[in-house]
Symmetry: C2
Subunit: 471 residues, 2 copies
Amino acid sequence: MSESSADRIVSELRSWISDAAPGARLPSSRELAARFGASPVTVQKAMHTLVGLGLVESRPGAGSFVRGGRAPRTLDFGWQTGALRTAQARVPALSTPMRDAAVDAIGLHSGYPAGELLPERAVRAALARAARADAATSRSAVGGLPELQAWFARELGERTPAGVTPPAARDVIVAPGSQSALSSVFRALTDPGQPVVMESPTYWGAILAAAQAGVRIVPVSGDGEGPDPDDLVRALAETGARVFYAQPNFQNPTGVQWSPARRERVMAAVRAHGAFLVEDDWAHDFGIDADAVPMAAFDDGGHVVYVRSLTKSVSPAVRVAAVIARGPVRDRILADRGAESMYVSGVLQAAALDVVLQPAWRSHLRGLRTRLRERRDLLAASLAEHAPALRVERMPRGGLNLWARLPDGADADRLMRDCEAEGVLIAAGTEWFPAEPPAAFVRLNFSGPDPSRFGDGAAAIGRALRRQRVG
Amino acid sequence: MSESSADRIVSELRSWISDAAPGARLPSSRELAARFGASPVTVQKAMHTLVGLGLVESRPGAGSFVRGGRAPRTLDFGWQTGALRTAQARVPALSTPMRDAAVDAIGLHSGYPAGELLPERAVRAALARAARADAATSRSAVGGLPELQAWFARELGERTPAGVTPPAARDVIVAPGSQSALSSVFRALTDPGQPVVMESPTYWGAILAAAQAGVRIVPVSGDGEGPDPDDLVRALAETGARVFYAQPNFQNPTGVQWSPARRERVMAAVRAHGAFLVEDDWAHDFGIDADAVPMAAFDDGGHVVYVRSLTKSVSPAVRVAAVIARGPVRDRILADRGAESMYVSGVLQAAALDVVLQPAWRSHLRGLRTRLRERRDLLAASLAEHAPALRVERMPRGGLNLWARLPDGADADRLMRDCEAEGVLIAAGTEWFPAEPPAAFVRLNFSGPDPSRFGDGAAAIGRALRRQRVG
């Protein structure tokens, strides 16, 4: 083919040019034709390409020459300021929990469990099997792999009491992670500028997804049993919000699990206001002293839009989550997922399904419970010993984090910086508050770092607090 | 652990209850304690759970009974109509090219190449290697796997002429497919309600992403050399649009590759109006008689936001694409990707990189070119023979599709239905038009179905046209 021999001439001359001085004369067309055994047309085509690339300049009658190099220019993107029209991006950059830690740092900041808490062997085997299956080279359906949709539906159906209709597989929409799921849910349920009620503090990823959707967050307060129901009713009534986002089980960051009484009052408020509860069951697999009890299991009226992810419990590389929704809202969420990404890689879906269908999955989850309990208790004990000024307000009955209040007058951001200087990464609580924080907090992840370093981490926090004369 | 023995009692009683008649009396607490070797507290806990699940009702003094089943209810989601606030979803459901075909259908409608055109062996081997690597159980960076970012930058850099600064790895943002990339680009570059200029016809996925971002599409016309530059200047000037979306190489659906003169006039217009060209280089790996020449290679002023995907050329299951953008706009796109999905599975990124770094990748692409040419020419010949009323306006020099005009008076949707009844799937051109189509078209994908069935497919189209008395 003529293309490929012209390509070859271009490629060889490019490497010759890269070593040549600017202004150097190239061999004549006749010489090149002889050297490459190519026709004059092919040589001419190659030279044309080199001229087009700006590497060569052709002076008629004199020959072709290597173009003079220019000093690297300073690129100026100032014109974009006007083209982008708004002074600041609507969506802030990612938060502290997504920062990469140096290998030897003690990373209490992250949102992800350590590899030793993952079913690593099962994940690798499942991915290897998926690599051999049809899934490796085919497109998936928009809603998801039907067997995986059915599994997610079954998981929720098992918690569904008699008299409530359990969800069907078609009510499940597979998304590439719960962040994508939340983004689609907010876009499908609201238009930009509309209000969405959230607890304060709440999960920073939900705050980010709300910013992306351009919705206005209406904060409500809460306590150790869940959101304040009177505050919730006021927020729904005053703003006309039709969406309440929450994590009823082991909230990130506080660890609160809603009490049965609170669950009923919240659902009553949501129903009375014709609203949706977006239930983010992020810690479904991370119960410690209690199991997660999805609110969605008790709703067949289409009020609860349920989000569950396998990213943190199966593997951060197997980004698979599900939205379970019923009624017209399900179709809107599905349409948004289609517009956003068309479908989720079948390899990841097949691998996720493979892992959760293994008998080892159940025993893995049981072992995980024990190890999370040990880690939680050890970190709490280390903090009590080395950083007694920090107050862990309640032992979470599940999840991956301790939520600790700083003494009055302490500065969480300064604490974070001072700890980082000692190689200990923590997350200042500010990132979880859509409203002004009533006090300073830090979130400490007990599932990430090596537990043998909890003592050192707590000691660094204690020293940093004392440096602020509050420890 | 007390939880697990209560769980065991719940689980065994559930299966007993599922076979029991409504109203049947459960064994007493004393009997259950003896049977399960459990403490009264554990039994009580289990019964409490069963009551909570609605499976059992407890009548004080009488015992516990299996609750009566209810007839399956008809669920009513009518209240959602008000909660969703808008009469119709902003985002339409997915289009014809995403429909699944029956196994024996002739699927000329799809947007994806057949498995035999993919580097299947390399994909499976790469996924298997990724399953054994760190990537299988770890989180990736938000911008992407650094080596993959560098590869995408290098690919564009190789086309960059002297005097233009090539992109750096940090200018690359990895996304899970080009649809996700386009969605983020539109969100990052515009606010809802703002205008975005597009050719008509143009890629339906871009029309969908624009609908999702809530932007207003301003259509411009074009011809066999690219968009009409005067029309483009008018559209930018009249609407104040700062974004022009296009596929300069082998446009989907028309197959047009912009001429050199047209490329210069478009870039001049974009620069003069302080605008962005969103270049969707979807067919970069699908050149047939010509290579794709990215506009982005000639721009270091940050005007071109470049999107390239590996989904169609590596594997539909390896959903990996890149956005290459420079200046503040890059940070906004990165922030949107973070808010949308935080990061892309490292398994898919590692596998994609593995495939494109194999020496076999280059030879695969060379072989692909030959096979696409054969398929294109065979489908065109089959249509000329069996459906002569259909006019393929130009032979595309790359891409996967023929774009054919129907005779005046023909109805593309009826043609689509009639063909489907004969097991031949085609896509009506209407889905590619953001404005009113000036005539009726169909898009026929020559990369999907088995070429030995092209004759049958063309014959079915011919028969259906004759039935409309236009063939």
